[in-house]
């Protein structure tokens, strides 16, 4: 790889180098251990009976025939688990104190029963569970469970759900509002009244799904020796899961051990809590046998969390030169049947709406609405792709209104690098005044515009369409507050054999933590990469942790690792000084050896230093300390968000006859501060953009008016293949974050934020001869044809 010449490579260390991934070898040999790969002797498998109705009262449940079926060990209904508390994603639903004080948001709880007892609220809600000797038999028995349903009126559209006549989903709530929050800056009404131009539009972000290739899975066993509960889970947040299992089952958290070993992709969908994750450990205890549940693809598409569906009624006010005076947006977020993550998505949408632009007057409110659809939670970008879609589309409309080129309009409104740190006047998600710590937005845009070669596209447009194929270019920019707190843990131990063990709280779902965290640790310690073993997402290895969500792992776990490494380095040098009988200031640790700084002085290797166990024949250490005591645990608490940013440009060709959108050129210029492993970073950005392109052009979770999902398989829910995703034209700038020692920012989500907006802009530009306005995605051939058919030709 050519990355070693990259400009962000600084010093002679490992940080900044494209170190090949240490996790690959095992996975390439088929030796990964995903949850479903772990054989637990004597285990049973679970299968869930799910509601076929979007909204219905449960009148009767009869499990007698199912219980008598071959191989069935147990069948549970809501009555069987009525003694357990209903599920609440408590941490996610908590409003940060600063936010509560300043904005007083509404957040209403909707605890979810582990198995529905009285009512079902969406198609796919678990109603009963069968445990059998294997999945075949469990599924056979599911067909024998008889449930009597009395259908109720169904709400699919969130705006209908808000109408006063709408039936209530949750009777304890006054209406179907789950979350409401509003923010104002300046005097937006006056700004709109005095504006030269106002655009007012509705833009819809459509519903789609994270869809990791490994579906969700959980396996649990009571350790016959210790009596403790061991849980293998495909989760991004093992500590939260441990605490929730302990709470639900009435256990001490320390008696539950959660291991997120190999996880086959998460993208947010595996970042929240699900009822299946509580029922399987419960069953392992109650049945006295190991229990495994692995979701099938239909369950994943219809009953694991969805994302993205929002309606924006957005207005921009501008002066004659295109300077934005004010933004007003009324955002409705479709939460689905339960409020799972509270303010996370709505507030992300609110406080990322302004993006890189200078906006003096702001008026935004967001409402999270309950409907009879599968619950919606964060998915890669978590509220940002939706809001960027609305804002960037509105910018494109304003550009048309004012007759200014869209890239020029954007340039006129960008916050400059000399204005950093920049306060927007809003409040960030933790409740502090929102501040962009660093960035160079004009440079991002300048590079994206240069790469897109706008002049060539305009010239081609002037020539006219060839064979009904129209070219267009779009631009979109975003900022992303990354490195969400409150903390992440790193523990470093010097093992008796002289190797270094690093445990971090955040598990990997493919992000390459074992490699990038080892790079950070190796540099901080002064040891070779090869002696570092990294564990992530094991609640025994780090009793405290948060998880890998919200573009936070590198910032938080990375800086915790860096600090722990520096502290352990000091301890090693101190121990070596005692051992060698010299003062610590004369010693240095590099390449795994502590040696005198002056030539010819004494030295000691880590194995010798660490391995002084009091065995027969081995002298007791005179200082009373054993080498294995060298360890440090650091909880890194970020002082604020590290704000990453990016500019995307896309050139497309649209076939007016078939409606096909072909991406001719996709440009991304991003800024994630200092980069630890450029190869891994590029992979993250590329993967994010591919998911964004999927959402922009192909993927949509469709519901009928009866609340029935119509896209429950990969035959009708279209995930892009290699043929649909182009090579990307990538560039990057580096504005180190002042918020942490490493100067890093998160970048796991960034790539997914802008593709919907940029492709909508490009398609709209291509179809300008037809006067098309793109107000929602995905831009499938049929939707593009519909846009052309229904457009008002200029």
């Amino acid at each position: 790889m050519s990355h070693d010449s990259d400009p962000h490579r600084h010093g002679g260390g490992l940080i900044g180098r494209s170190v090949p991934r240490v996790e690959d070898d095992r996975l390439l040999r088929g030796q990964g251990r995903y949850v479903d790969d772990i054989a637990l002797p004597g285990g049973v498998e679970a299968a869930f009976l799910r509601s076929p109705h979007a909204h219905a009262r449960i009148e009767s449940v009869d499990v007698r025939a199912a219980l008598a079926a071959p191989g069935v060990v147990a069948v549970w209904t809501g009555e069987d688990v009525a003694d357990l508390p209903a599920m609440l994603n408590k941490e996610e639903l908590r409003t940060p104190p600063g936010l509560a004080e300043l904005l007083d948001p509404v957040v209403r709880m909707t605890p979810m029963p582990l198995l529905a007892r009285e009512k079902v609220l969406y198609v796919g809600q678990p109603v009963a569970v069968v445990f059998a000797e294997n999945r075949y038999l469990a599924e056979d028995a599911l067909e024998l469970v008889e449930v009597g349903y009395a259908p109720l009126p169904v709400l699919v559209d969130p705006e209908t759900s808000l109408s006063p006549e709408a039936p209530l989903l949750h009777e304890h709530l006054p209406d179907n509002t789950a979350v409401a929050v509003a923010a104002r800056v300046g005097d937006p009404d006056a700004a709109f009244a005095g504006a030269h131009a106002v655009v007012s539009e509705r833009f819809d972000a459509h519903r789609y799904v994270a869809s990791p290739i490994e579906t969700r899975a959980i396996s649990a066993q009571v350790d016959p020796y210790s009596g403790r509960l061991t849980v293998w889970a495909g989760t991004q947040t093992p500590h939260r899961l441990r605490d929730a299992i302990a709470h639900t089952l009435g256990l001490a958290p320390a008696s539950v051990h959660v291991i997120a070993a190999d996880v086959g992709g998460g993208f947010g969908q595996k970042g929240i809590l699900y009822v299946e994750e509580l029922l399987v450990p419960h069953a392992a205890r109650r049945l006295g046998r190991p229990v495994l549940w692995r979701e099938d693809r239909n369950e994943n598409l219809t009953a694991s969390s969805h994302a993205r569906e929002q309606i924006h009624h957005i207005e921009l006010a501008a002066d004659a030169e295109g300077h934005i005076l004010a933004v007003r947006d009324r955002i409705t977020v479709n939460f689905g049947a339960y409020n799972m993550t509270g303010l996370v998505v709505p507030y992300n949408s609110l406080c990322h709406l302004l993006g890189p632009y200078r906006v003096p007057h702001v008026d935004i409110d967001v409402t999270g609405v309950l409907t009879n659809t599968t619950f919606a939670t964060p998915y890669r970008g978590a509220g940002r792709p939706e809001t960027v879609f609305a804002m960037e589309r509105a910018m494109d409309r304003l550009a048309v209104e004012l007759g200014i080129a869209p890239e020029e309009l954007r340039a006129r409104n960008l916050v400059g690098p000399d204005e950093m740190p920049y306060a927007t006047g809003l409040v960030d998600r933790s409740g502090s005044p929102q501040s962009y710590d660093s960035g160079d937005f004009p440079e991002l845009l300048r590079r994206a515009v240069a790469k897109a070669d706008v002049e060539a596209i305009r010239a081609r447009q002037r020539e006219g369409a060839r064979d009904g194929r129209h070219v267009g270019v779009g631009f979109a920019m975003y900022i992303e507050a990354t490195g969400l707190g409150p903390f992440e843990t790193a523990r470093i131990d010097l093992a008796p054999d002289g190797r270094v063990r690093l445990a971090i709280g955040a598990p990997s779902q493919g992000q390459g933590h074992r490699t990038s965290m080892a790079q950070i640790a190796a540099d901080a310690l002064g040891v070779p990469l090869g002696i570092i073993e990294v564990t992530g997402g094991d609640t025994e290895a780090t009793p405290f942790g948060v998880g890998t969500i919200a573009s936070r792992a590198l910032v938080n776990a990375g800086n915790a690792t860096h600090r722990a490494g520096r502290l352990v380095r000091e301890k090693i040098i101190e121990a070596a000084a005692r051992r060698l009988g010299v003062t610590a200031d004369r010693l240095d640790l590099s390449d795994g050896v502590v040696a005198a700084k002056e030539p010819g002085g004494p030295s000691i290797g880590l194995a010798e230093l660490a391995g002084r166990a009091p065995l027969p024949g081995v002298p007791e250490p005179t200082d009373g300390r054993h080498g294995t005591e060298i360890s440090e645990t650091v909880h890194f608490r970020p002082p604020g968000f590290a704000v990453a940013s990016g500019a995307h440009a896309a050139v497309v060709e649209v076939d007016e006859h078939t409606g096909e959108v072909e991406i001719l050129h996709y440009v991304v210029v991003h800024d994630a501060g200092n980069i630890v492993n450029p190869m891994i970073a590029e992979g993250q950005v590329t993967g994010g953009i591919a998911q964004g392109i999927g959402g922009a052009l192909y993927e949509e979770m469709v519901y009928g008016p009866d609340g029935q999902p119509r896209t429950g398989t990969y035959m009708d829910y279209l995930v892009p293949t290699s043929s649909e995703i182009p090579d990307l034209d990538m560039d990057e700038i580096f504005t180190p974050s002042p918020m942490n020692d490493l100067g890093v920012k998160g970048l796991g989500e960034g790539g997914a934020i802008a593709p919907q907006a940029v492709l909508a802009g490009a398609v709209e530009d291509a179809l300008r001869p037809f006067g098309v306005v793109v107000r929602r995605g995905p831009l499938s051939p049929s939707r593009v044809r519909e846009l052309i058919r229904t457009a008002d030709r200029p």
């Binding site: 992979g683 993967g687 990969y714 290699s722 990307l728």
Partner: protein, 178 residues
């Protein structure tokens, strides 16, 4: 003669429900002779994973779209989630575990995926490896359209495919020359 692999009867083995629905099959898996009793409806993917403990073959969709479960049956890439174990009597099957032995170096295909960073979470990787291995075993280099066609049978959610395409290209270059 390779000894036959005993079939472990784990809890996840379907118990005998209808005697008439069971069949004895003999086949070769990763070079070893295997004889087993299988239920008619047992999927090849479950046979490999649950009976033989070859869990490198991953199941992502169970309806033949994602390609994660791909193994080579008589040298052809096959979706093991759409194939019944009983259909494979007499065949020779290769799974990701059979590409190389535990202590031997990676094959050129595996190395290409590592060197090009053509993998992230690794869940879809075995399927891509098996299809790519089949491409490298053709007598002549497949053309671009054939490569694109082969890859379009696999979903990856992490990488954005770019590095997977590079890896496949590198593996083909190594096999057939640039």
């Amino acid at each position: 003669m390779t000894p036959s692999v005993p079939t472990p009867l784990t809890a996840r083995t379907p118990p005998l429900t209808e005697p008439s629905a069971w069949h004895e099959i003999a086949l070769t898996v990763n070079g070893r002779a295997v004889t087993a009793q299988v239920e008619s409806r047992l999927l090849l993917s479950d046979f490999l994973r649950d009976r033989l403990g070859l869990t490198g073959t991953h199941v992502g969709c169970e309806h033949g779209v994602c390609g994660a479960c791909t193994a080579l049956v008589d040298d052809e890439p096959v979706r093991t989630c759409l194939t019944l174990a009983v259909q494979c009597a007499g065949t020779e099957i290769r799974t990701v575990e059979g590409l190389t032995t535990d202590d031997a170096p990676l094959t050129s295909v595996q190395r290409a995926f590592h060197e090009c960073h053509g993998m992230q979470c690794g869940f879809c990787t075995p399927g891509f490896l098996m299809t790519t291995t089949a491409l490298t075993e053709r007598p002549d280099r497949p053309d671009e359209a054939q490569v694109a066609d082969a890859l379009s049978g696999h979903l990856c959610r992490c990488t954005g495919y770019r590095n997977i395409r590079r890896a496949v290209c590198q593996a083909l270059d190594e096999r057939f020359g640039k």
